[in-house]
């Protein structure tokens, strides 16, 4: 009964999306003030703004301009009563630089949003209430299925919703949703992280335009991901896959008016969202080809039927199909070589980054491989070798890039890419005795601490935005924030230790399991890469922590607090943002102690034996490597001033070269730029365009001019003289008569 109604978890965010789009957002828009008489300043401003801002309708723009003039300072708007902001006083002098917006607001910040309308707030509450329902329901499902396992649920799972989409002869296309333990575990992650992110966004997005729209997109994103989680067959998972692509596009490009920042190597959100969408499509080509190969060979899309059907399939075809399907995961989970979209996706609002990285998007690739684990297992070992090597290489590769990045969010982006690589290694080396357990376990723990890292980063960026009146993401302008934002710093430190695999934190259990499995299965290459990456991870995460929150001169030997390199006064973020941080810190520590995770997913698997894990030597090798990373990072960044480190690196040619290569992300983005510009646009597209112009258009125009030419010749026949027509007519009749006579005689 409990399980049969679990489809409500899936439809709750969809309902939230629909209610926000059709009811509360309309209410929000209608309740905004409309101004008929626009003063001169406001008019100029509206025109300037309207011309660069095609996104908003014009009456909204006019209202906004006028509103900015007539505004009064309020508690919600810190900019106007901020004494350090000298720009805000002569209102209306410099409309281009957003002075009318009160100084530090960006293109997409809405001056009216401090007075969030009732409709906008209602949108947030609708999304929150429905997501809270989904979250509580999925936790009940999880607890219930752990406490009293349902044999049916363990064995086959329940199909909770079924609809025949299309019935073509023998082939039955079904929209079917299905739950089992794997789906429930994932559902908990998705709904929990989404709920906390939505709660957090109340604070983070309070100044942004399109507050209601943001909540509708978040709900759509959660729904899309839940479609993947609930999918019973490849058709549904592909639908969810594309929906996730769409909603990530909408959310990454949410601040549509923000400009690119070439000096920080940051694209504009609009182009970042397009890049994410297009790069994902490249992977999806492989995904859909793989699905088609499987479908042609077995005649079914359903995972449960495929598990049996693939056993009779040609092994080579199956292996090719599974590698093609993995291509989809490469795109969605940002593995090398399709990882470039994920760092660009940092241009979206930070809660969106948290959602993408922790629960809803990149996890989809891992979840899909976990869901199709029996199919990968049935294929040739080469399939899992591909998965493992791509994962391990990506883990190492992304970790080296993260070592030197100075952008706060970009470090996290590369750490996500790296950790996803771990998950794929975990899936690849697990073998039948663990199943999808280790990879999913790392996904499960990673979701909490990575969401925490991102929300903490968002909290820092929010505080710096209020302190410096502009968007600052560069860690060189941070430092010593721990004493100023203690809650954010403490929770961030917990997440840092968790992702570094510090013993006792959740990341330790999941990551050491994966590294240990690579060791057990004598996958030495994968073992070496994952082991080194563990050290690198510890290094760059503690580096980021110290650069942002610590520095030489702080407490605890420079770990906590220290000199602040930016401007203005930094304050802790509001409770709407700190509460999710605290709530996420709890599972970041404790999630690893769920030792029954492997047996929960697969009753035949060995459970995680913590005692065993603690006495194995290879665990301690891994821990030692991580500790070395932590100590080196501490020794460098907490004991030496940042300027000295930079001067040291710049003075050594070898170090400088390595730093430049890593800082430019191995020039892969530049290479792709070159590839797109010169090979795709000037090469393939030019050829295609030439073919189109000269061959396709040539045929069409040729046929047309042939016909017009023929017609202009033939029209001379129409002399207008009746007698010539008459000759034609009777001549024709005569010819036909003669023909008929001849034919009749021939037939006779």
């Amino acid at each position: 009964m409990l399980y049969q109604y679990s489809w409500t978890v899936l439809f709750a965010p969809l309902l939230a999306f629909a209610v926000i789009i059709f009811v509360t957002r309309v209410w929000d828009m209608l309740s905004r003030p409309r101004v008929q008489e626009v003063p001169a300043h406001g008019d100029t401003h509206a025109d300037i703004h309207g011309s660069i801002d095609p996104h908003h309708d014009s009456h909204n723009e006019r209202a906004r301009g006028a509103d900015a003039i007539n505004r009064v300072p309020t508690d919600g708007d810190k900019s106007l009563d901020d004494p350090t902001n000298s720009n805000s006083l002569p209102i209306g002098r410099d409309p281009i630089h957003g002075v009318l917006h009160g100084g530090h607001l960006d293109d997409d910040d809405d001056p009216k949003v401090p007075f969030l309308s009732a409709g906008a707030k209602a949108s947030a509450y609708v999304a929150l209430v429905l997501m809270a329902f989904a979250c509580i329901y999925s936790w009940i499902l999880l607890i219930n299925s752990v406490v009293s396992p349902d044999p049916m649920l363990v064995k086959t799972g329940y199909t909770v919703f079924q609809y025949t989409w299309l019935n073509l002869g023998n082939i039955n296309y079904q929209i079917a949703f299905h739950i089992d333990h794997l789906a429930i575990a994932m559902m908990v992650v998705v709904t929990t992280v989404t709920l906390l992110v939505q709660f957090y966004s109340q604070g983070y997005m309070q100044n942004s335009a399109g507050y209601a729209r943001f909540y509708s997109y978040l709900s759509l994103f959660a729904f899309s991901m839940l479609v993947i989680v609930f999918a019973q067959n490849f058709l549904v998972i592909f639908t969810g896959w594309e929906l996730v692509g769409l909603s990530s596009y909408l959310l990454i490009g949410f601040w549509i008016n923000k400009k690119a920042k070439p000096e920080e190597q940051r694209p504009s959100p609009a182009s970042a969202s397009l890049q994410a969408f297009v790069v994902n499509r490249i992977g999806d080509v492989g995904f859909i080809i793989g699905i088609m190969i499987l479908f042609v060979s077995t005649g079914t899309f359903e995972f449960s039927k495929l598990q049996i059907a693939v056993l009779g399939m040609n092994k080579t075809a199956l292996t090719v199909a599974m590698i093609c399907i993995f291509c989809g995961a490469i795109g969605k989970s940002a593995q090398f070589p399709l990882h470039v979209w994920l760092p660009s996706a940092m241009e979206g609002p930070t809660p969106v980054s948290a959602l993408i990285h922790a629960a809803t998007m990149v996890a989809a690739g891992v979840y899909m491989v976990a869901r199709t684990f029996p199919l990968f297992y049935a294929a040739d070992p080469a399939a899992f070798q591909v998965v493992g090597w791509i994962g391990a290489f990506t883990a190492f590769f992304a970790a080296t890039i993260a070592l030197v990045q100075s952008d706060f969010k970009r470090v996290l982006a590369f750490s996500t890419i790296s950790q996803l690589g771990y998950m794929f290694v975990g899936l690849a080396v697990a073998g039948s005795e663990y199943g999808a357990g280790p990879g999913m376990f790392h996904l499960f723990t990673h979701a909490f601490f990575k969401a925490l890292l991102f929300l903490g980063a968002g909290s820092v960026l929010f505080a710096l935005h209020h302190a410096m009146h502009r968007e600052v993401q560069d860690m060189r302008l941070m430092g010593g924030l721990a004493t100023r934002m203690p809650i954010t710093a403490a929770t961030w430190l917990i997440a840092t230790l968790a992702i570094s695999g510090f013993p006792g934190f959740s990341g330790f259990f999941s990551k050491e399991t994966i590294i240990g499995l690579a060791y057990d299965h004598q996958q030495w290459g994968l073992y070496a890469l994952t082991l080194v990456t563990a050290g690198l991870t510890a290094f760059y995460m503690l580096r980021a922590f110290i650069l942002a929150f610590g520095g030489k001169g702080g407490y605890l030997g420079g770990l906590w607090g220290g000199p602040y390199r930016g401007e203005g006064e930094v304050h802790e973020s509001p409770p709407t943002m700190t509460i999710p941080l605290i709530l996420l810190a709890i599972p970041s520590v404790l999630a690893g102690y769920w030792t029954g995770f492997f047996t929960y997913l697969n009753p035949d698997a060995k459970p995680l034996d913590i005692a065993q894990l603690l006495i194995l030597p290879d665990t301690w090798i891994g821990v030692a490597v991580s500790l070395v990373g932590l100590i080196v990072a501490y020794a460098i960044y907490a004991r030496v001033e940042l300027t000295k480190i930079e001067a040291f690196v710049q003075s050594r040619p070898a170090l400088r070269t390595v730093h430049r290569i890593l800082y430019n992300r191995y020039y892969i983005d530049a290479f792709y730029d070159w590839l797109v510009k010169y090979v795709v646009l000037n090469g393939i597209c030019w050829l295609a365009q030439a073919f189109d112009t000269y061959v396709i258009d040539g045929i069409v125009n040729g046929v047309a001019s042939l016909i017009t030419g023929f017609g202009s010749g033939v029209r001379r026949v129409e002399t207008g003289q009746v007698q010539s027509y008459m000759i034609g007519f009777f001549g024709g009749v005569a010819v036909l008569a003669v023909l008929a006579l001849v034919l009749i005689n021939v037939v006779k």
């Binding site: 029209r715 129409e718 002399t719 207008g720 003289q721 009746v722 007698q723 008459m726 000759i727």
Partner: protein, 115 residues
Amino acid sequence: MGLTLNHFLILGAVLFCIGLYGAISKRNAIAVLMGIEIMLNAVNVTMIGFSFFNTVKVHRPDGFGNYAQYLTGQIFAIFIITVAAAEAAVALAMIIAIYRKRNTVDVGEIDMMKW
């Protein structure tokens, strides 16, 4: 040797050809009209010829048999005469109208329906 169907048909064909020649070769519109009238009458001759020779045996109740003619062709001929009269009236009216407008009845010069 009496009249047979072939006599009528040959007469019709000859008349038709004469009419057609006149209609095609004459420059004067009235002569063309006359050629068309001859063609119509050629058709009439053929119709009546067919009608006369196309008979069917009728069985009467008193036992005497007789050959009856199909009258369709003759009715058609009357129709054609009627239509030809109307057509001649209309065509002459048109010729007069054209003459008033263009001052000619030479069909070679009447080419308003040209491309």
